[in-house]
Amino acid sequence: MKQTINLSVNGKDWPLEVEPHMALSECLREDLALTGVRISCNQGHCGACTVLLDGEPVNSCLTLAVDAVGKQITTIEGLARDGKLDPLQQAFIDHHGLQCGYCTPGMILSAKALLEENPHPTEPEIRESLAGNLCRCGSYQKIIQSIQAAGGETGGGA
């Protein structure tokens, strides 16, 4: 039986009717058309569906929509502010931290959580924070460089 819930996504509240077993990933994609939430393995192995819950990266395929009630959900669509890209997004563009793009939203959101906590991470810390985000194109080197560059920028600007 469907439940009526309110989800706070990218700073806006959305009244929704969802089945209690509906995954957050499916809810965001199907009900809110936030297709930047990518689904690949749907089992919590690949990290493509990563979103931030109160700033923490989670696999939205393993999170129930009803469990996200009362939390601030950030998807890749919510990262740019007032039409301006987040420094991480710009760094991924400038440093070619992507190829096919499928892992990119998850990578950027995992990196966002890292930089919020640790504005100047070392390379091993960056690698550790991305261990749950797979990139089959193998672009890790430039992904790491992108995050280092953004780390430098946000650190300098803050």
């Binding site: 749907n42 890749i76 669509e77 710009q90 563009i93 190829q99 793009g101 990139c135 430039k142």
Partner: protein, 798 residues
């Protein structure tokens, strides 16, 4: 004022800083171009055209497509590795509320469809499925849950047949025959007299190598959405081969090609997986029967266990060498598993020619073998990766026996520009066209080896064959190197065609039929067009892979686009340029041949200050048309006969192997590639990095496993099938040889496929140097520990 709108606000800031800002149409302060031959756009590290969409999540894949009234399609798969359907009852499934259509083998043609590069041959639905997972029926329903419930209601009476899994078992004459046309297909690449060659040898060495089952293991779900309007079909799917898919759909559906519109979507990571695949054909028939749009979205399990995997190789080789290291004869037998529906007789086999500097006699035999296992076919680096996994250790064995080091023997034998290429003969044979003889356009294997060795510090790290570089307790450090070459497209793939539309405001649409799988083709083809046309890159946008809009292109396979499609893109841009210069000549009262275009300015070559902005020219009302001119540049064509380009590469690796746990870690890779002129270094570095990770993963951790009794794939997921992740990624040092290919556009060759080829052999050599035993891949901890144990107990010679 800049009247050509900046394409993307997010990028415009960065691009303004660059050298190639769009010229102002009215302001006249900008300096006129110097008229030099220096390239303006090709060679620049410009961001991907679609990078902004990718980092904001706006980018769309096939799985993101939704149409009004769209149904969900699900596929029923065979539980048996080989069986015949005696009866299929779908009454209960059809009666289930919410089910719109049930598709059975009776609804699809008796005849088989065939993938253009022989990666699939079979019926759309099989009444005699050939592997556990083969497609036998499909349901279209209002949602996934109803569709799955309906599949469970289909009742089938089976006759289970004897099956065969192993390649060497399947080639036996009494083996179960997987397909009606026999299990084995073979071809030979040969030149010279093999017997005479081996007689000249002072030393003959042999090697046999086997590798595991690599899955493309795609990140990203592919989907196929089909909508029929009368007898006209539109199909959205992630595909590298939009036009060959369109052509085969039209053939089997008995429709004119213009009534089948394939809109090729970006694939996500494909690596050779998403071409023309059977689920797309099922979706087409299912939607027609249901009378509503249907979407089939494959799960990770389906993508890994049923679509395709890399051909599993067993390769034997024998090499005859003179005392000075000159190769005189090379004989290789390459067996590869085509799985249930592959139909290949040969993979790409450029490595057959790689060591031909001194014209050794060569005989490379290829045997493609069907088995009752998941479909097998092309995966990035196909053929040349698996061949070199045998020929590289073969060369090492000869070098070790002759007291040469691995660089010396390779530098002595690799081919150079002008050397004959025999591996093309098969292709001509296939098309019944006499072989014209082919010679190599350019080749800088020497640069790859020498530069790689210098960057790696090879001299300081190399201790000799079978010897580690350093031992620290349990940790053994060792180095290895290997070479390979690969094709840059090929005439047999077909002739690309390209359209360049110049709009009234001077902006440009580039139309090609290429597939988009993240290799950056949208950007690199635009770089070629911008360079030739003399306009800023920002003024170009692309539409690709839509068969209703774009001109025909070969499959985006075999690193075809940079070299082969690029040549045609350049020609189409040149055609547009010629038309614009004719108009400008009249306007400027200068003969067109005395004009050129650079940085968005049309100028007189002799007097660069006499000029008109490109966008101003395209806006001018044509005196006869009474509108501004509409320029359509176009080209179709193929590579020249008799000359063929190959890419070359050398990889140097350092590993750390723990002799207590058997775990090997890839620490560092130095990769030097000859891909001709590099269109976009950043794109190419990413391609090489990806190749290293795919090749490295293949020998270190990836192996698709099926149950030895049922044939069911046991690990079609990222938890049990381990691809390399951010913690496994080695330090990478990637660079490019300085080569300008005489055929490629601006001297460009290909890069993407070949990047996978040398890494496995280089790691193999490093493993040998670490433990003194040559192993088959994957080099799992179990296998490494077993080898160390055997060696310590003297059970196996080094």
């Amino acid at each position: 004022m800049n009247r050509v709108p900046a394409r993307r606000p997010a990028l415009s800031k960065r691009r303004r800083k660059g050298k190639h800002a769009t010229p102002p149409v009215t302001a006249r302060r900008t300096k006129a171009p110097a008229g030099s031959d220096e390239l303006k756009v090709v060679g620049q590290r410009v961001p991907l055209f679609d990078a902004c969409e990718k980092v904001t999540g706006a980018f769309k894949y096939a799985s993101d497509i939704r149409l009004p009234g769209m149904l969900v399609g699900k596929i029923l798969r065979s539980p048996h590795p080989y069986a015949r359907i005696l009866a299929m009852d779908v009454t209960k499934a059809q009666a289930l509320p919410g089910v719109a259509a049930v598709l059975t083998p009776d609804d699809v043609p008796e005849g088989e469809w065939g993938e253009r590069s022989f990666n699939y041959r079979g019926r759309v639905l099989n009444d005699k499925p050939r592997f556990a997972g083969d497609e036998i029926a499909a349901v279209a329903a209002v949602n996934e849950h109803v569709a799955e419930a309906a599949l469970a209601l289909i009742e089938i009476k089976w006759e289970v047949l004897p099956h065969v899994f192993g390649v060497m078992d399947a080639i036996k004459p009494d083996a179960p025959q997987v397909a009606p046309y026999g299990n084995v297909r073979s071809t030979v690449v040969e030149a010279g007299d093999l017997q005479k060659g081996f007689k000249k040898a002072d030393l003959v060495v042999e090697h046999e190598a086997a590798m595991g089952n690599q899955s493309h293991a795609p990140l990203g779900r592919n989907a196929c959405v089909v909508s029929w309007e009368g007898d006209q079909m539109t199909l959205w799917t992630g595909t590298q081969t939009p036009f060959p898919l369109r052509d085969e759909l039209a053939r089997i559906l008995k429709l004119p090609q213009n009534r089948v519109r394939v809109i090729g979507m970006p694939t996500g990571s494909s690596n050779g997986l998403w071409w023309a695949c059977n689920f797309q054909f099922i979706a087409a028939y299912l939607a027609r029967k249901a009378g509503r749009p249907v979407k089939i979205e494959l799960t990770q399990e389906e993508a890994m266990a049923t679509v395709k995997r890399r051909e599993t190789p067993t390769v034997w080789g024998k090499l005859g060498v003179k005392r000075d290291g000159t190769f005189v004869a090379m004989h290789v037998k390459h067996y590869f598993d085509n799985g249930a529906h592959g139909f290949k007789a040969y993979p790409f086999e450029s490595v057959s020619d790689l060591w031909g500097r001194h014209r050794p006699a060569i005989r490379f035999e290829f045997y493609g073998v069907n088995t009752n296992t998941p479909n097998a076919g092309c995966m990035r680096g196909v053929g040349d990766l698996t061949i070199s996994f045998c020929t590289e250790p073969l060369i090492d064995k000869a070098a070790a026996a002759l007291g040469m080091d691995p660089l010396e023997i390779r530098l002595k034998n690799h081919i150079i520009a002008g050397d004959p290429i025999h591996s093309q003969k098969n292709i001509y044979k296939r098309f019944n066209v006499p072989f014209p003889g082919e010679r190599l356009t350019s080749g800088a294997m020497d640069q790859c080896i020498k530069r790689g060795a210098a960057a790696f510090g090879w001299k300081d790290k190399w201790r000799g064959f079978g010897k580690p570089t350093a031992v620290n307790g349990n940790k053994v450090r060792a180095v290895g190197m290997a070479c390979a070459c690969h094709i840059c497209g090929g005439r047999h793939l077909g002739s690309p065609s390209v359209i360049v539309k110049v709009n009234h405001d001077g902006s440009v649409n580039l139309l090609t039929g290429v597939g988009r799988m993240g290799q950056g083709v949208e950007t690199t083809q635009a770089q070629i067009a911008a360079e030739e046309l003399g306009v800023p890159l920002e003024s170009i946008t692309g539409t690709h892979a839509d068969s209703g809009v774009c001109p025909w292109s070969p499959s985006t396979v075999g690193s075809v686009n940079a070299h082969q499609t690029g040549m045609v893109t350049r020609a189409a841009a040149r055609d547009a340029k010629k038309q614009i210069l004719a108009l400008a000549g009249r306007e400027m009262k200068v003969p067109p041949r005395e004009l050129d275009i650079k940085d968005g300015w049309i100028y007189a070559k002799a007097r660069p200050k006499k000029r008109i902005a490109f966008a101003e020219m395209t806006r001018k009302v044509h005196p006869e048309w009474l509108t501004p001119p509409y320029i359509i540049g176009r080209a179709a064509g193929n590579l020249p006969v008799g000359r063929i380009a190959k890419m070359f590469m050398a990889h140097f690796v350092e590993i750390e192997l723990d002799v207590e746990t058997g775990v090997s870690k890839l620490l560092k890779v130095v990769a030097v590639h000859d891909s001709g002129r590099i269109i976009n270094p950043a794109v190419c570095e990413n391609q090489v990095a990806g190749g290293v990770m795919i090749g490295g993963g293949f020998v270190l951790s990836e192996n698709l496993v099926w149950d030895p009794k049922t044939g069911r794939v046991l690990n079609p997921n990222f938890a049990d099938y381990k691809i390399l992740n951010a913690l496994d990624a080695p330090l990478l040092d990637i660079s490019f040889a300085e080569v300008i290919d005489p055929v490629g556009p601006f001297g460009v060759k290909g890069i993407g496929e070949g990047a996978t080829c040398p890494t496995p052999s280089a790691i193999g050599q490093a493993i040998y140097n670490a433990i003194g035993v040559r192993l088959n891949a994957p080099f799992t901890p179990e296998r490494v520990l077993e080898a160390i144990k055997e060696q310590r107990t003297g059970g196996r010679a080094a």
